[in-house]
Amino acid sequence: AFFWLVSLLLSSLIWFIAVKASDPRDQPLQKGLLIFGVMFSVLLQEAFRFLYYKLLRKAIEGLVALSEDGCSPISIEQMAYVAGVGFGLMSGAFSMINLLADALGPGTVGIHGDSQLYFLTSAFMTMVLIFLHTFWGILFFHGCEHRRWWEITAVVVMHLAVSGSTFCNPLYVGSLVPSYLLMAAAAAWAYLLSGGSAQNLRRFLLCK
């Protein structure tokens, strides 16, 4: 969570500088800067995920060295999951909390002609992002562990795609549907990587 926060800080710093240095009345430029800011932020987030992976790797080595039986009490997969959840929670909290606070007060949604489903779609979008961050955490760490660069690039590309799809908002079908599809794909991938299989799933569902 902390690492995500730091990445957000740095990316907003960059965006802020860019905005201050440019002409505020030029709308397309502002939009362009915003897009640039978003993409840069995504890349920074992934970079910080990588840094966090490096840190956890060192921590695991330390734990293994100190433990009695040569294996650390917490595996890298668990750490990947926790890291993903941390990233997701922080990102979700930052996206939603002001919305929620405002939702407590009086007002009408979409009174100026904007979409009336603002809160609903925000909630769904946040949820899908939190899930995605969790899955990306697992995929990313797995890719780093086994040196499969294509997995890492896949995660980065997915993140960029999801963020990019939100540019279609308020045409929600353009952003929510692809995001959910990507989430299902990432979920299946992460599940398989974590050692699950169709058989496990069947056994679990049938309560064997």
């Binding site: 710093l13 433990s67 990102s91 996206s95 002001n98 925000s122």
Partner: protein, 458 residues
């Protein structure tokens, strides 16, 4: 300050530790090493509380701040075992400290957001005489710096006073001071707080009921904190008085002064605990020399003592182990800054292989706890509360400061495990908190607002 304390040294220790985190006035077991640090920390806390005291209760603040200072680090011969245990229980300690700090912050933020009283400006403390309603920015800055200097010097004077009192064994005075300050906190501040909350929610309450409620609350609090009581209740009371103190600070410190004071006090903390001539360090060393327990009244301890009902033979058997342990304890002792977290090292018990005590040792392993000074609680909550009160980005800033402080606490505990001496708990957390507050408020907020208005997600 964060200090490590051993839990089970004497038969009385477990009793005291378990039932009352803070021993009352006089040190129960003079030869007990552990208590020594606790009392030092307590005095330090009392001292600190007094230093930062508000116009109403100078004692409280000083007390709150100082409590952490004592932490003797006991190096045991079995360092490896110790390290392992430290790391193993380190995570538990971190969680044990996260919960109360989080609770305190939640109480403060909830109050700030709902009760209007604490964000209104109704005057200032006498410790910050310069006003901030000045026309120019330079003047305002100057005033806040002057306020800070006055506040910090009050704190330093109080700390030195406490050390002097402790050196000359004026225990009764210190105890009286502590009792007076907690009396004020528990009764007067609670009365005001309750009044404001009732006003906010427009709930009518008659005076007899109010009197009954406050009397019970205050009386139980006094007993719990200064004498014996269930651990959870004691922790709850400590959290409540820290929150009350923090609210007073948030209300009565002018804006810029508050931020400068936060910065200055973490620097002071660093110096007071780590410099050889620092008051807190001297306090710890004096307490160590005398083998006395420190006043636990102003430290939050998360230790759980399981060895309450020790049978006679056990205690007898623990005698020798106690000696060895005490001897071992003589050498270590470092007070960290106002907040010390004590982690109990079980290895001190392990060197003594007495048969009846092995079961004790096993039990005692559960007793490891961490002690954090109340001053730390207070200043963390002040930072988060100020962020909640004054930031225009509202919840994002508050959340960012919260995460920053917790991460700072984590790092400090990590350093504690590495260095095994009393460490100041304020500097790292407050630095992170301040950095995140200012950057989130000025940089992240416009970014997130723009993103939210276009419904973009990153």
């Amino acid at each position: 300050m964060i200090t490590f304390t051993n839990n089970s040294d004497s038969e009385e220790e477990p009793c005291n530790e378990r039932t009352s985190l803070m021993s009352a006035e006089s040190p129960p077991v003079p030869s007990y090493q552990d208590g020594l640090q606790a009392s030092e920390a307590g005095e330090a806390q009392a001292h600190r509380k007094r230093r930062t005291g508000s116009s109403r209760s100078p004692n409280n603040i000083a007390d709150g701040d100082m409590s952490d200072s004592g932490v003797p680090v006991r190096e045991s011969a079995l360092e490896n075992e110790e390290e392992e245990l430290t790391l193993k229980y380190g995570a538990k300690h971190v969680i044990m400290l996260f919960v109360p700090v989080t609770l305190c912050m939640i109480v403060v933020v909830a109050t700030i957001k709902s009760v209007r009283f604490y964000t209104e400006k109704n005057g200032q403390l006498i410790y910050t005489p310069f006003t901030e309603d000045t026309p120019s920015v330079g003047q305002r800055l100057l005033n806040s710096v002057l306020n800070t200097i006055i506040m910090i010097s009050v704190i330093v004077v109080m700390t030195v006073f406490l050390v002097v009192l402790y050196k000359y064994r004026c225990y009764k005075f210190i105890h009286g001071w502590l009792i007076l300050s907690s009396l004020m906190l528990l009764f007067l501040f609670t009365y005001i707080y309750l009044g404001e909350v009732l006003k906010t929610y427009n709930v009518a309450m008659d005076y007899p009921t109010l009197f009954l409620v406050i009397w019970n609350f205050g009386a139980v609090g006094m007993i719990c904190i200064h004498w014996k009581g269930p651990l959870q209740l004691q922790q709850a009371y400590l959290i409540m008085i820290s929150a009350l103190m923090a609210l007073v600070f948030i209300k009565y410190l002018p804006e810029w002064s508050a931020w400068v004071i936060l910065g200055a006090i973490s620097i002071y903390d660093l110096m007071a605990v780590l410099c050889p001539k620092g008051p807190l360090r001297m306090l710890v060393e004096t307490a160590q020399e005398r083998n006395e327990p420190i006043f636990p009244a102003l430290i939050y301890s998360s230790a759980m003592m399981w060895t309450v009902g020790m049978a006679k033979p056990d205690t007898a058997a623990r005698g020798p182990s106690q000696q060895a342990w005490d001897a071992g304890e003589d050498g270590r002792e470092n007070h960290r800054s106002p907040s010390h977290t004590d982690s109990q090292m079980s290895e001190t018990r392990s060197p003594v292989p007495t048969r009846p005590t092995t079961s004790l040792e096993e039990l005692e392993e559960e007793e490891r706890g961490v002690k954090l000074g109340l001053g730390d609680f207070i200043f963390y909550s002040v930072l988060v509360g100020k962020a909640a009160a004054t930031a225009s980005g509202d919840w994002n800033t508050t959340l960012a400061c919260f995460v920053a402080i917790l991460i700072g606490l984590c790092l400090t505990l990590l350093l504690l495990a590495v260095f095994k001496k009393a460490l100041p708990a304020l500097p790292i957390s407050i630095t992170f908190g301040l950095v995140f507050y200012f950057s989130t408020d000025n940089l992240v907020r416009p970014f997130m607002d723009t993103l939210a208005s276009h419904q973009l997600y990153i």
